[in-house]
């Protein structure tokens, strides 16, 4: 174990980390993003083990065990989340999940995904912080509020009609 070996292996860990980073930033599939995270973690644990060997004690290895444990937890949770997300929108595209964006921003033009027309039936809340009745709403907000309320109403109507349809079906 000489210095240049340590150096080489640390750089190897760094390269794995960087590869994972690139993967995480560029890939759009949820699963591949998750695997990129795991690549980053394995780069880190490689470094830990090199240090462990270098210092001739177990501390690095034990930390690597921790990393492994956390990675396993992450895998379990991530898999469960991916499965439940896939059930919702039938896509693995991470860009399909941008409900938390600011409403004034345009939607990603490339963000189309199959099943996008299947809308969710959750009410959209108006932006918090202003009482729409008490004060004149800024014109920028006005459009948003109207949009949200009209969406909500259309949802209500939709759900009514759909329940009516299902009733008819049941009778049939």
């Amino acid at each position: 174990m000489n210095h240049s070996e340590v150096q080489n292996l640390l750089v190897l860990g760094g390269i794995l980390f960087a590869i994972g980073l690139i993967g995480f930033l560029t890939r759009r599939s949820l699963i591949l993003m998750f695997l990129s995270l795991e690549t980053m973690l394995s780069g880190v644990s490689l470094n830990l083990i090199v240090f462990s060997r270098y210092h001739q004690n177990y501390q690095g290895q034990i930390l690597a065990v921790m990393v492994l444990t956390i990675a396993a937890c992450e895998a379990a949770i991530a898999l469960a989340m991916v499965v439940s997300l896939y059930r919702r929108k039938a896509t693995l595209d991470v860009q399909a999940w941008d409900e938390l964006s600011e409403t004034i921003l345009p939607k990603d033009p490339q963000g189309d995904y199959p099943g996008m027309d299947k809308e969710e039936s959750y009410p959209k809340l108006i932006p918090a912080g202003l009482d729409p009745l008490a004060k004149p709403v800024p014109s920028s907000m006005q459009a948003t509020i109207e949009q949200a309320s009209s969406l909500h109403e259309s949802k209500l109507n939709e759900s009514k009609t759909s329940s009516a349809v299902s009733e008819v079906n049941q009778r049939a």
Partner: protein, 273 residues
């Protein structure tokens, strides 16, 4: 004869004086790798074969460079082979259009990294990584990928978000890491840590085999070999004495994650009507 020759008496002594910086080499390597990654990422919707080929060529050059920087010894060569395989697997992983290919690339990277870990005498970690990552995680993710796979490639499989910035950011981060590693710094001479007892428990209190005594410089080679890292029993002893709380905590986290995963993956309950 000891088949895995670790002679504690002849452990190499490293110190700051011995350092020979090969900064320029490493920086060149980093730049090469960054460019290669960028070029390989340019597959987009229309696969650019020229760019991919040049990226692969750059990558090959970087690999050759790395090879020339090491001494031609069996161990070093094997280690370097594993390293290059790991990096190649990683690159394949991030550039593959087909998600299953990408996952297999990741498996390659992880398995090669495990090879490196074996050569660092971290046997337990290596085996555990193989079982956990390669054996379980990737298999299950392959499983999901195969189920979610559509007849042809999806847009989100072939189109990448901001590859240029990503490559630049990662390269600069790698640059920082390489710089910090190659920076001449004061490195204290290290040898076997003989002063630290491996356990707070009284010797002989553990079942199975007697607890070894605290390492003593007067011990014979064979006895000292018992204390060298890489011995799984030593790792286990350290894990369950010095770091007991941390390990138990990790186990608890694992349990919680299991329960969480079960809850998350449940199908939403159907409407009774």
């Amino acid at each position: 004869m000891n088949p895995l020759p670790i002679d504690p008496k002849n452990l190499p002594l490293v110190s700051g004086d011995e350092f020979q910086g090969n900064l320029s080499q490493i920086l060149l390597l980093v730049i090469l790798l960054g460019t290669a990654a960028y070029l390989l990422l340019q597959h987009g919707l229309v696969k650019s074969k020229m760019m991919a080929a040049s990226g692969a060529a750059l990558f090959a050059v970087a690999g050759l460079m790395a090879f020339t920087s090491i001494p031609m010894e069996l161990e070093s060569v094997v280690r370097m082979c594993f390293s290059i395989l790991a990096v190649a697997g990683g690159i394949a992983f991030i550039t593959a259009r087909e998600p299953v290919h990408a996952a297999l690339g990741f498996a390659t990277a992880v398995l090669s990294a495990c090879g490196v870990l074996f050569m660092q005498s971290a046997y337990f970690i290596a085996a555990a990584t193989m079982i956990v990552y390669a054996g379980a995680t990737i298999i299950i993710f392959l499983f999901v990928l195969m189920f979610a796979q559509k007849a042809k490639l999806q847009q989100y499989d072939v189109q990448l978000t901001s590859p240029v910035i990503a490559a630049a950011v990662a390269t600069s981060l790698l640059f920082a890491i390489a710089w910090s590693v190659s920076e001449p710094g004061e490195i204290l001479p290290v040898k076997l840590d003989l002063t630290r007892p491996y356990s707070l428990a009284a010797p002989g209190s553990a079942p199975g085999e007697a607890m070894p005594p605290v390492p003593d410089p007067a011990m014979s080679t064979e006895q000292l070999a018992e204390f060298t890292p890489g011995k799984t029993s030593g790792l286990g002893r350290s894990m369950f004495t010095d770091y007991l709380l941390a390990i138990e905590l990790a186990g608890t986290v694992l349990l919680v994650a299991t329960i969480g995963a079960i809850v998350l993956a449940q199908k939403p309950e159907r409407d009774p009507s």
